[in-house]
Amino acid sequence: MIKLNRPFIIRSIALIICLGWSIGPHLGHAQSISFTDVAAASGIDHINTSGSAKKQYIIETQPAGGGFWDYNNDGILDIYLTNGVAQDSTRRDSVGTALYQGQTDARFSDATSRSNAFLTGWTMGVTFADYDADGDADLYATRWGPDVLLGNNGDGTFSDHTESSGLGSTRWGIGASFADFDLDGDLDLYVANYIDFTLGGSPFYDQWCTHNGVPAACGPVGAAAQADLFYRNEGHGDFTEISAEIGLTGRSYYAMGVLWTDYDNDGDPDLYVANDGHPNSLFRNDRHRFVDVALIESVAYSGDGRPQAGMGVAAGDYDRDGRFDIFVTNFSQDHNTLYRNSGQGYFLDVSGRANLAGTSRPHMGWGTFFFDVDSDGYEDLFVANGHLMPEIEQAGIAMQYRQQNLLYRNGRNGRFIDISNQAGSGLQIKEVSRAAAYGDYDNDGDLDILVANIDAAPNLLRNDSQAHGNWLSLRLRSGGSNREGVGARIYLQTEDGRQMREVRTGTSFQSQNDMRQHFGLAKASLADITVQWTDGTEQHYASVAANQFYTIAKEAYKITVE
């Protein structure tokens, strides 16, 4: 037994006090972050159905997408969820996508039928934007089968605009995202496509493959990659596919997550695509033509020079250095990758240093986003996880089919702290998760999480954290064709420093976040805001009070409380 003398005890107590002083608030903070799954209690009764339970075909492992949007412009977030196909043919017509309308009491009502937004078949992901600038958000769904564009009629219903808009690719789409790539004021569309796949046909027929010694769906290796598609908005509700015209003619990969972000701070949106099993792509926007600079910028491979299996993708300025960094989720037995933007023409794989490598290896990552979970002014990180193969649990390894999602708190020192186990019951759920999005669905000032799961109900994780900082939330409105200010950058300055956000559509994995921009202000009660619109207009709003939802109207140069 160790004998303790008094000076030692005193020194120890002093040390504990000192440590407590410096790290105590962090630890206490972590414990106060809490999420609760309220999907069912909120009226969300959607159940994802994705073919057979055995998952013999790769198509059955993907179709769980969804996100937050405000389709009826009532200031309350709504939810759209995608779906697969029932194995039982008698159920096929009843299985499909779902639209839930947010109510003032933080509950949802099923608006699928009355809105005419029901899609059957294999629907993968979604992105929402007012592509026709008629004042309401429309919906683009990627699918195995023709993609669909649902035009918002403005009366709570939707019409199929696929054909009239010139969209409807029959390739297997996964990620999709709108942005104004040519800065002409309207929103163009990038669709990431996966593989040339036939259910039960070539190249996989009715066979099983193996992975880790257990049966697994064959693919994507062995299948031909389907090229991504880029559509220019012609301004009259129609699009033209112009991939070749703008330099997107390189080799096709198995593309999944899509992200528009102005990584080089030159005022136009660049495009990052996470590719499964291949090098990722970073298309730099050079005066409206694209050049793949992923190799040069060191975001194609992991830091040790390996192609990974890119799934979901997110961007955020986690280190608050004024440059967007990129985070990519990958296959299990590999790490998720955080590429820190050095600002010197290259990124650095800092996954290990950021404590994101080892913690992610046992998980297969999909949807992901940076968000300020505790409103302390630093962006935290969420990753949705879930394996591909139900049989993985028979492999005699620690890997599970249903996996816990990961929540990392930003340590403000370049490192993230895995607080998943201390973040409430909502983070203890194990499902086969795919899409993930954040949004303040109950308008209480903190960010909640939506997770879409394979063969299960989604999770709506309500943020019940007790201690969080001040905040404010900004919705951008413009009178032009880019009504929601997609691509605009917002800087927020407090005495604690400067933060920035970018208005984006479809990111993460088959998903889209709340388009309102949430900022954590920590203890600050006022903030100065600068908005850089995509046409170069810069607007400043000084001393904006915390803990409010605001709308910034470009043409009126006005910020108003909602």
Binding site: N212, L295, S351, P362
Partner: protein, 457 residues
Amino acid sequence: MKFMFVCLFTLCVGCAQESTLPSQEAGPAAEPTLVQEMSAQPTDSQLFEEGRRLQARADFKGAEARYRQAIAVAPSNPQYTFYLGTVLHATSRYGEARSLFEEAMQLKPDYAAPRIALGKLLYDVDGNSEAASKLLREALELAPQAAEARYTLALIQLREGQSEEAIRLFSELVEADSSNAQARTQLGLAYLQQGDIETAQSELKRATSSQPYYSAAFHGLGQTFIRQGNTIAGQRLLQRAQQLEEQATQLTPHQNALRQNPNQPEAHYNLASMYARFDRLRPAAQHFSKAIALDSTYALAYQGLGNLFLRLGTTAEARANYASRARALYLRALELNSQLAETHNNLGLLLHRSGDIQAAVQHYERATVIDTQAGFYQANLSRAYLDLKLYPEALQAADKALQITPTMTGARETLGDIYAAQKDWTNALEAWERIDPQDRPSELKQKIAQARMHNAP
């Protein structure tokens, strides 16, 4: 007695790492099995040795049976238990493998090998960096020279952002073996992670020199140039890295097939053909030769080896020497299988070059009969007829070549040459001018100019 081996249809996960496990040490080629030579009741050590032999041949099923028999005789032997674990690991039976490694560690607490194997399993399969690192550190205390443990531990440290420890461990590896390009590459990458660009570049240059096909080394080296502002050099290296990565992707299934069937001539042939496609002539030659060693009647392997010789030689004398070896190999291939169109064609080329055009025509003709859809066989035949001044035959062959492959520049040039040889400058010019200007070599440009002069009024 010829050894019969069992083909396994298991997915080889982490084979590259497996190859360095003790269980994968090279064993002798086909020989009578020990068990067959043994008395009715072999000893445990004989069973174990037989298991090792079978495992070296990737006969995991056989090896497993022998190890289990050995363990039945000597249940407390840690080595037998460990090796059984390695077989199960190699066949993706991870749960059982894990238990066996743990059991071997219990039976012999100072046994490093099962710690290394378990550490690798925990990292590669379970994704558990922390537990893996602990085991690998323990292994290094027990066996400080264990390169496998040091490398894996260093890699984990690098990926976890612990570049200082990674540098120490990788440095120890390259000090022990200066030809270890993999460790040197990772050492360079660790320096890169630390921001020491110059040292990183120096290590990565050495790595690319000693292992010119390791994509990660080129990738890292490219990064160093980019970070120094030399984007053009960096970009070139990164493109090379990507090229190598794509090659590796295509080579991997063949390497895995060979690992599972190391004595199958087809597996060597397929891998050799893939290496040859990427101009990696040395490993291509090794595997073609191995295919022949395993099956001396394997005609395609002779042809493949002959094709390699056809690409060698920097001086006229050396080329002639290699050509004669290629010729011998082609003749042997045709002796074994007279229906190899490519061999006939390539032998025709050799004969054509050496001036024996009549003999070349015979082989070209044979090639066109066997494979009627290969335009370039017809093109070669056309050229040979032209050299023999048999213009109608040459014209017919060139036409056939262009029917099969209308875009074949060589056939179109030959067509022009045939007309030119007959002083038909109009048709010659028409044939040559149909070749894309960008694909016209200077000699052809001269011919076109000459024909235009002839055609001038």
